[in-house]
């Protein structure tokens, strides 16, 4: 079997819960992790006689996302998608069908590739079912319990075109979409909590031939699982195809522990959802003024942030990470305050996590200057930075308190020579070319100089001594 003969085609369907205060059609709190069946009312329980009223924020969030994805934001109507399921209180889902609020967009990935967006429509979430007995899995469960707190939480379903060609591209798409959802405030987009859920439609075909039959992969709880599941599915499908079998169109579930997908519902008999326009709701047609106000509230998107940061730092790979962590504004402010762009970017990508704590732009800039002028070594700077994050303060003062005056060349040389003398056996190994002992010597020097030495300078001196 050779995967090289086959072309992967992936389209992704992403459901994201909108970060509204209330549910899409009622005033119940949209809140994760509450006591079961506490955020419920006649509307979201589908009680007889209840009627939905659309949440303005849900529309605005959806439109904001549509704009971020370069979609046409258009007049839309709600339909009912009819099927029985116990987590769905009305036994129909209110969703959008032929007239979604957002259509025809694009998502540009950090590598420059572009994935088409077919639509991004509004719909309501279902309740949450817990399967009891049989190890908690639906197929073996003795019975199930339903909590309707999540029923009626607003969702936006983002359907990509089948433009994705590699597992890595699928992962990059999910990562970028998550970043956009978070940056726009539309969703907290946490895959672990289920506020962002990714389904992948995967098929394989030979280049030049029509697309193959696709399988829909569900239960992908992380970007990592998405990549693993697609890779697994590629192998599985190619194996079948090369042995002359056909792919059955079906839903498959990713089993993270077993590292494989398992068959679910067959889609051979297409469900008959009997879509029809929801008569209890009226169309939504945002006018120009409303759309303009939504556009005006649009924050800067990750792609633009990356471009901006790259332009000011000359960075490349690190830039995406820094933007993802939300540290680009801090870095740019520090540059504006005279900081060293290269050192700032290195710290933001290697030594800071998503929250920069007590660190503010001016001390950050000062720190990078001390480092650039050689007043502090990289190791010392890292120590000072850690303290700035936890407690704030003045970098120079912190360095002074810790005795981090720059080490003179003579003192460093003396420390290196002392280390060599301390373990002649190790030094013979080093001289013989065993670089594994480098770390031992550097550590020794760090210890005797109390971290004042610059690791790189120590290595250079060791090399020089070995040559001579």
């Amino acid at each position: 079997m050779s995967l090289d003969d086959w072309q992967l085609v992936v389209g992704l369907e992403v459901h994201a819960e909108l970060a509204t205060n209330t549910k899409i059609f009622c005033g119940c709190a949209n809140s994760f992790g509450d006591e079961p069946n506490t955020n419920v009312c006649p509307v979201c329980l589908g009680l007889p006689g209840s009627l939905p009223v659309l949440n303005r924020s849900a529309v605005e969030f959806a439109a904001r996302l549509g704009m971020a994805l370069e979609c046409t934001v258009q007049p839309s109507v709600f339909h009912r998608k009819n099927y029985f399921y116990p987590d769905m209180p009305k036994d129909y889902q209110v969703s959008q069908y032929d007239l979604p609020i957002n259509a025809d967009g694009t998502l540009e990935l950090p590598d420059g590739s572009v994935v088409g967006i077919e639509r991004a429509h509004l719909e309501e979430d279902t309740g949450k079912t817990t399967h009891m007995g049989g190890g908690g899995r639906i197929h073996d469960a003795a019975y199930s319990l339903v909590d309707y707190n999540r029923a009626g939480v607003p969702l936006v379903e983002i359907v990509s075109r089948p433009d994705i060609r590699t597992p890595e591209q699928a992962q990059a798409y999910a990562t970028e979409l998550r970043a956009i959802l978070a940056a726009t405030g539309v969703s907290d987009a946490k895959m672990e909590e289920g506020s962002m859920r990714v389904d992948a439609n995967v098929s394989m075909h030979k280049p030049g031939e029509p697309y193959g039959t696709r399988c829909e992969i569900k239960n992908l709880n992380s970007v990592r699982s998405l990549g693993r599941a697609i890779r697994y599915e590629m192998e599985r499908q190619v194996q079948l195809l090369e042995s002359g079998e056909r792919i059955v169109q079906e839903t498959r579930h990713w089993d993270e522990d077993a590292g494989r997908t398992r068959p679910g519902r067959s889609k051979e008999q297409a469900e008959d959802y009997r879509y029809f326009q929801e008569p209890d709701l009226v169309p939504v047609a945002p006018d120009d003024e409303w759309l303009a106000s939504i556009r005006a509230a649009m924050p800067m998107l990750p792609a633009a942030r990356r471009t901006r940061l790259a332009a000011q730092t000359g960075g490349d790979v690190d830039v995406a990470l820094v933007v993802e962590r939300g540290l680009d504004d801090l870095v740019l402010e520090a540059i504006a305050a005279g900081g060293d762009p290269g050192r700032l970017l290195v710290h933001a990508s290697n030594n800071l996590s998503a929250g920069a704590g007590e660190l503010s732009a001016r001390p950050f800039a000062e720190l990078s200057k001390l480092e650039a002028t050689g007043a502090l070594t990289a190791t010392q700077a890292k120590t000072v930075l850690a303290e700035l994050v936890t407690a704030g303060g003045d970098p120079a003062a912190i360095a002074a308190t810790r005795g981090f005056e720059a080490m003179g060349d003579d003192a460093l040389a003396a420390a290196v020579d002392a280390a060599i003398a301390a373990d002649p056996e190790a030094w013979e190994k080093f001289k013989a070319g065993d670089r594994k002992v480098t770390g031992f010597f550097v550590g020794l020097v760090m210890k005797t100089t109390k971290g004042k030495a610059d690791g790189k300078a120590v290595t250079a001196l060791l090399d020089a001594r070995a040559q001579s």
Partner: protein, 470 residues
């Protein structure tokens, strides 16, 4: 008979107590309810407490002390609301319908929940899980439906006012058969919040009363914008009661040809419509023949649209959250066992019909087509209203028929609604007002139709007909 207005005035003036009024009505109920079976539930205790509160001055308003009967598809907090279906037997809603809340705020005293065809599907109130209601004018005959219990309650003097719901004629047809006034308001005028849905784009709540003035009084209380109903109109309602005596001088009245000559209109009913036209002409109206060609297709379009919406609206009765459950091995089988045991044959028929009309391969031929016909009906009515202020036609093709007469053949039952359905499809208001009797001596109602929000015109026209009889 004492009217609601007279009761309200007397209670307000302190001439009569609400409790005294209530006991009089409860006495009538005690006497005849066993025969008529207008109610699924008589709310004696709650009504007595409400009347006491009125007498204590704790409850005031336009209807303080007036007994009102509620169709049993209107949600009443803590009070069983069954829709005359086994599937909801014993269910107590945790909330009040908006109309119920408005009536309560106006001081009304609820005497009971009235019988109906299950989920409002029917034209005779025979499709009730709790047995049929009988026509107070002749106990062998049906009261019409689906709001037969409400119509019978007013006709029998159990309450001067009642609420019904009208999806294809379910207020007007029983009003006609029971000899009372029944009005279906403009779609969106009265909030549907808390009305258990049959067909959402057609359902409207409206009043029953013995007199036109009382119907106007009740409508004024229940009408108005409700933020809980997205399809509620946000427009001020023109006053209804104050203009009732304004007459019809110069009013352009069209006798609606297609419906006067529709399939199955009995000659005695047609003669009453002609008499009504004469009465209006005598009162100064300009009467002429009017045509709404697409109205002929109303029945067919309705029996695709209403069941389609119903098939979806009634999916929620699945045995999971409330109401009946029939246990089974798995959830899908439990859903099916519950629904099979809980729904009666007419409801099942319509659910299947609607499911079919929406299903893949048939949508365009049936549901989609019916929606286009709905457009034609709206257009044709709009054109007629260029020339006429009010249209006149029968309400029901015949007077009240005998119990069991039309239960075997669904189509014969459906034909009862041929004259009432077009207004529901158009979303326009219509009123049925008693206008004499048929050859069998039973009441005949004539129907007045008007454009959206013409309730005031319809009511004052009906008042002229009411006056012409006396």
């Amino acid at each position: 008979m004492t009217t609601a207005q007279q009761i309200a005035d007397a209670v307000r003036a302190g001439e009569r107590s609400a409790s005294e009024v209530l006991e009089e009505h409860l006495a009538v109920i005690d006497e005849r309810e066993g025969d008529v079976h207008a109610f699924n539930l008589v709310m004696r205790d709650e009504a007595r407490a409400a009347a006491v509160a009125v007498d204590a001055g704790d409850r005031t308003g336009a209807l303080a002390g007036v007994p009102v009967a509620l169709k049993d598809n209107l949600c009443t907090r803590g009070i069983p609301t069954t829709c005359s279906s086994r599937i909801l037997e014993g269910w107590r809603p945790p909330y009040d319908a908006t109309v119920v809340a408005r009536l309560a705020a106006a001081g009304a005293v609820f005497v009971g929940k009235t019988n109906l065809d299950e989920f409002a599907m029917g034209s005779s109130t025979e499709n009730s899980a709790f047995g049929p209601t009988r026509n107070p004018h002749d106990l062998d005959r049906v009261p019409g439906g689906s709001s037969g219990g409400s119509a019978a309650a007013v006709a029998a003097g159990f309450a001067p006012l009642a609420l019904g719901s009208d999806t294809g004629g379910s207020i007007r047809q029983p009003a006609a058969l029971c000899g009372v006034v029944g009005l279906k308001p403009t779609y969106g005028l009265v909030s549907r919040y808390g009305l258990v849905a049959f067909a959402s784009s057609l359902d409207q709540i409206g009043p029953f009363a013995a007199t036109v003035a009382d119907a106007a009084l009740l409508l004024e209380v229940i009408a108005g914008h409700d933020p809980l109903d997205s399809t509620s109109l946000d427009r001020p309602l023109p006053p209804l009661v104050s203009g009732l005596g304004d007459g019809v001088e110069g009013l352009r009245v069209g006798v609606l040809t297609e419906l006067v000559h529709a399939e199955g209109i009995a000659p005695d009913v047609r003669r009453r419509v002609e008499a009504a036209a004469e009465a209006l002409a005598d009162a100064g109206a300009k009467v002429d023949e009017a045509s709404v060609p697409a109205a002929s297709f109303g029945l067919s379009a309705y029996y695709l649209i209403a069941p389609a919406e119903a098939s979806s609206n009634l999916a929620r009765y699945d045995g999971v959250r409330y109401g009946l459950r029939v246990d089974a091995e798995n959830t899908a089988e439990m859903n099916a066992a519950t629904r099979t045991a809980g729904f009666g044959p007419e409801v099942k028929r319509r659910i299947m019909l609607g499911t079919y009309a929406l299903s893949a391969g048939y949508y365009d031929a049936y549901y989609g087509k019916a929606q286009q016909v709905r457009t034609l009906i709206i257009r044709d009515f709009a054109a007629a209203y260029d020339s006429f202020d009010v249209l006149l036609c029968p309400t029901s093709p015949t007077t009240a028929f005998r119990l069991g007469d039309k239960t075997a053949d669904p189509m014969s039952m459906y034909l009862n609604d041929v004259c009432t359905i077009p207004s529901n499809l158009a979303g326009d208001p219509a009123i049925s007002v008693p206008f004499g009797a048929g050859d069998d001596g039973l009441p005949v109602g004539v129907q007045l139709l008007g454009p959206a929000l013409s309730e005031a015109t319809l009511l004052r026209t009906a008042a002229v007909l009411e006056g012409a009889l006396q």
